[in-house]
């Protein structure tokens, strides 16, 4: 469990707002201020794109068809509210670094919660709709909506969520995409330690539906450095498996394995065209998150 003060980070919020969501808050919270790169159902024409499965029949430009005998769909500036859903990994592995089983301060979950609330606060301030799905010990879904009440609800869920069990991120992402239907941004915040081979495919399948996934990889600095000394019994948080060894003797090899994993994650995301940011506790995540938000723009 976390207090609201544990997960609100005004400084990070301010830096993210300054970088990606500049400008004063809109007086009409149902309209976004930023011109969205998303193409949708607005009034202003933007471009033609070739028709493909998923496009509405009504959006086909028949005049162009008459001239070229090919189906093109009119893309217009989408002037609707942005819809953003955060999929948070709340599996047991996110408790790593917690002060105790009941106090999640210092854990990866707290770090992830800070990131989610900071981005969400920026979006809400600009009149966008934010939603939340917890993927872990319990299933919680908060549909996207705007306003401070929505943000308060999001805070409530994040701070009170049960952090336990395993996580099937691929299932959670698929469920979220199903509920969103189309045209949304999905922030997936996780340590990606679960062996979830189907996630990559699910994420690639969202793109034609206008759902843009963005990966935020949360790591605890101890997971990278392995600072323990002396003979240690390592116990898997998500299972009963354990291993006794002297970390001093394998630290170098361990570091190499972790770095290899991070590199693999980054390369895989880039290959799929999915923005990716790695945030490590103990380090300022603002820069990585700013780059993530700016990359590819909003859809």
């Amino acid at each position: 469990m976390l207090e609201r003060t544990d997960i609100l980070d005004p400084e990070l919020t301010a830096r993210l707002a300054g970088a990606a969501f500049s400008g004063p808050p809109t007086p009409a919270p149902h309209h976004g201020v930023q011109p969205s790169p998303r193409r949708g159902i607005g009034m202003e024409f933007a471009e033609h794109v070739e028709y493909s499965a998923g496009h509405e029949i009504g959006s086909i430009d028949w005049k162009v068809f008459a001239r070229s005998d090919r189906y093109y769909v009119k893309q217009r500036e989408d002037e609707r509210l942005r819809r953003v859903v955060f999929v948070m990994d709340t599996s047991a592995s996110m408790t790593y670094g917690a002060a105790s089983a009941l106090d999640m301060r210092g854990s990866k979950h707290q770090f992830a919660a800070r990131i989610v609330t900071s981005i969400a606060r920026c979006l809400v301030s600009e009149g966008d709709a934010v939603g939340l799905m917890l993927a872990g010990g319990e299933f919680v879904y908060l549909p996207p909506s705007g306003g401070m009440k929505q943000f308060e609800a999001l805070l409530e869920i994040v701070s009170g969520g049960i952090i336990a069990g395993n996580c099937r991120l691929s299932s959670a992402c698929a469920e979220a995409a199903e509920r969103l239907k189309r045209n949304a941004t999905m922030f997936i915040v996780s340590d990606f330690l679960d062996d979830d081979s189907g996630l990559d495919e699910i994420l690639r399948g969202m793109l034609p539906r206008g759902i843009a996934p963005r990966l935020i990889h949360v790591l605890h600095s101890d997971e990278v450095e392995l600072p323990q000394e002396g003979t240690t019994r390592y116990i898997d948080i998500e299972g009963d498996d354990s291993l006794v060894l002297d970390p001093d003797l394998i630290r170098k090899a361990y570091n190499e394995e972790v770095r290899g994993f991070l590199r693999e994650m980054s390369e895989s995301a880039a290959k799929s065209g999915i923005p990716y940011a790695c945030c490590e506790t103990g380090r300022d995540p603002a820069e990585a998150l700013t780059a993530l938000i700016r990359s590819g723009g909003w859809r």
Binding site: A99, P227, E229, G230, I235, D246, L249, I250, A253
Partner: protein, 698 residues
């Protein structure tokens, strides 16, 4: 055969500590700190990559820790090994012949070093080591090499504890020493003793061993332990001779670098200190003699291995003139053949001895009525007859302190018994005892040898002793050039207390003296003139004559006398006296003790009961002890035969390789311990600790 020898074997119980690393390893696994981690995936992958190296490292670490603890336990136990384990099992009878001569005081360390242990200390350590490790029923006998320790019984016999205790009291003994006689005693003691082992411990000083072949050594097997220095170096004060104008100090060296210059320092009891360097073994120190008899200390530096001979005390006479009366028995002319021609030349106002001696001449006929009081020396040169009761008067004066020096001459030929065969070895007197001069002879005459010019004899320089010792140095006067054509042989064995200070190269005595009361009778067995010898024509004649006069006049008070330790001395006192020894102790001596043997080196004073000082003399260690030249294996072979002995050398730790003694092995185990520590340091985690301990399960 070697066996482990531990000083504190009960510490071996601590060897079980070697199991501690194994226990710690097992406990460590059970008590491993639990840490929850998000995934074991990377740990397993890393562990799989390092598994082989880790296993080897763990084995090495375990071994190093077991070695470390085991070595620590063994080091506490005092590890060592015995060279000869048999001596601990079967009892034996050990007969140790221990060289206690002064040369054994040489300080171990060699060269000019003054630190470390003496050769005797090393020998005692070696013997103690055997005693400590021998079987409980072993018996020990100790034979010292001092001639005072002679006899059929050992100087000590007992068990190991008593033997070790007696060794502690053992020290250097002055006086005469004989290695061969001690070894013969040991062999006789070993006869009939089962399992007897004879061990000789010595510095192998040549002069102590070189006393002829050993007797009764058939079948005997002796172990000789060399505790001396392989490279010996020593310098010592060989002689101190005082003349009217200087002190001549003879310095000798053995084995030392000949280029080393020896400084000689003389400290007189009046506070004067004089220093000079010895040149060619002789240091001449000009001296203005004090008005009273005095003592001084001479030291040589550097003194080499044996510290005892680096310093010696000497006594000197007061600056007074000697009263000498020469009685010339030769009345012939011309004067050139006169007995006293050369003597007169020496004592004339422009002579070399002018001023030192009050010189008078007299005829034999004058001796009947001449007053003899105050005369230090009466020289009877070629005198064959004395006035009636002349000899009685002279003898009375001699007993009161005067010295008579008789020199031979052709007048004695008339006294020869023609009936006695000249060549016989019969002890028959050639000069009748009834002859007036006979009572004044030091020893009866046995024969007259007349070799002729072609077969003339020379003086044996090496045999010069007592007052003539200084002429061993050619710089003092080269007596080697003198040739003696005719001389008298003595029946020396019929008289006791004879001191021979000069001999011919065939061993015949040339200058002898015998104490008579407080004075002494001296005899020069050839002529003072050129008839029988060419002494008077030699350049050394004047120094020799001066030395002879000085000695003859000073002996009555003992000043200037240097006695070799262990040699008997006659004390000419007709009243009970006390002899104060160098260590301050006093010995009571009865009148006319014929044999007083001083042992301690240093200054002896003879006192009356009321502490009045009557005389003084100095006892010095035998120069032979200072000559540390060693007997080689050739010399030992000739003594024992090649199979009769085994020679080994004591090591620096006082252990005798091959027959017991404990060799300290702490170094070996300390080395293993250090190696284990280094291995441990190399295997354990790198230096520096991380500050964070990770997230423990709470």
């Amino acid at each position: 055969m070697e066996a482990l020898a531990l000083l504190r074997p009960w510490f071996l119980a601590a060897l079980v500590a070697g199991a501690i690393p194994v226990i710690i390893h097992l406990l460590d696994r059970k008590r491993a700190r639990p840490v929850h981690i998000a995934t074991l995936r990377f740990l397993k992958l890393a562990h799989a990559r390092k598994r082989g190296g880790l296993r080897l490292r763990n084995i090495l670490l375990l071994l190093s820790r077991i070695t470390l603890l085991s070595c620590l336990a063994i080091l506490f136990a005092g590890p060592g090994c015995r060279q000869d384990a048999d001596i601990t099992k079967s009892p034996a009878s050990w007969i140790f012949v221990l060289d206690t001569s002064p040369s054994m005081s040489a300080v171990r360390g060699g060269g000019w070093a003054k630190s470390g242990r003496s050769a005797l200390a090393a020998a005692k350590d070696a013997v103690s080591a055997i005693a400590a490790e021998s079987a409980p029923q072993s018996r020990f006998m100790l034979l010292k090499t001092s001639e005072q320790s002679g006899g059929s019984r050992p100087d000590f016999t007992g068990n190991a504890a008593e033997f070790t205790q007696s060794l502690k009291k053992l020290g250097i003994e002055f006086g005469r020493h004989g290695m061969t006689s001690a070894i013969e005693r040991a062999v006789r003691l070993a006869e009939g003793v089962p399992d007897a082992r004879i061990v000789v411990l010595s510095d192998l000083q040549k002069s102590a061993w070189d006393h002829g072949a050993l007797a009764g050594m058939e079948g005997a097997r002796v172990l000789i332990v060399d505790t001396g220095f392989e490279k010996n170096e020593n310098a010592w004060i060989d002689s101190v001779n005082e003349t009217a104008s200087e002190i001549a100090v003879g310095v000798k060296s053995a084995g030392a670098d000949k280029s080393i210059k020896h400084a000689v320092k003389v400290r007189l009891d009046d506070g004067r200190v004089m220093t000079t360097y010895a040149v060619d073994g002789l240091a001449r120190i000009p001296l203005k003699r004090p008005a009273k008899p005095y003592t001084g200390v001479v030291s040589v530096s550097p003194g080499g291995d044996v510290p005892l001979d680096d310093e010696t005390t000497f006594t000197g006479g007061e600056a007074r003139k000697i009263s000498v009366v020469f009685v010339n028995g030769d009345s012939r002319t011309p004067e050139m053949r006169d007995e006293l021609f050369f003597v007169r030349r020496a004592f004339s106002p422009d002579g070399l001895l002018a001023g030192e001696i009050v010189f008078r001449e007299a005829r034999p006929a004058d001796l009947g009525a001449m007053a003899l009081d105050g005369i230090d020396l009466l020289v009877l040169a070629n005198v064959s007859s004395l006035p009636p009761r002349g000899s009685e008067r002279i003898l009375k004066s001699v007993r009161g302190g005067m010295t008579v020096l008789m020199t031979a001459g052709d007048n004695w030929n008339s006294l020869m018994r023609l009936s006695a065969p000249a060549s016989t070895a019969s002890p028959e007197h050639l000069i009748s005892p009834e002859t007036s001069i006979a009572p004044l002879l030091s020893a009866p005459l046995r024969d007259m040898a007349n070799a002729g010019a072609a077969e003339a004899r020379a003086v044996d320089i090496a045999a010069l002793t007592g007052p003539m010792e200084m002429f061993r140095q050619p710089e003092s006067g080269d007596l080697k050039l003198a040739r003696i054509k005719s001389y008298w042989l003595l029946n020396a064995s019929s008289k006791t207390g004879l001191d021979v200070s000069m001999r011919l190269d065939n061993g015949a005595p040339l200058l002898v003296e015998r104490r008579e009361g407080k004075g002494r009778l001296m005899l020069f067995t050839t002529t003072l003139d050129a008839d029988g010898a060419d002494f008077c024509l030699q350049p050394a004649f004047i120094p020799w004559l001066g030395r002879l006069m000085h000695h003859a006049s000073g002996l009555t008070r003992f000043e200037g006398v240097r006695v070799v330790s262990g040699r008997a001395l006659e004390l000419p006192f007709d009243e009970p006296v006390w002899v104060r020894q160098p260590d301050g102790s006093r010995l009571s001596v009865a009148p006319h003790v014929k044999k007083f043997t001083p042992v301690q080196p240093g200054l002896y004073t003879i006192e009356r009961g009321d502490n009045e000082k009557l005389a003084a003399f100095v006892t010095v260690t035998d120069s032979a002890e200072s000559d540390t030249t060693r007997i080689g294996t050739d010399g030992l072979d000739s003594l024992f035969g090649k199979s009769g002995y085994r020679l080994i050398r004591a090591d620096a730790g006082g252990r005798i390789p091959g027959i017991g003694g404990r060799q300290d092995m702490s170094g070996v185990f300390a080395g293993a311990l250090i190696a284990a520590v280094l291995l441990e340091a190399a295997l354990i985690r790198p230096f520096g600790r991380r500050k964070k301990a990770g997230h423990e399960l709470k």
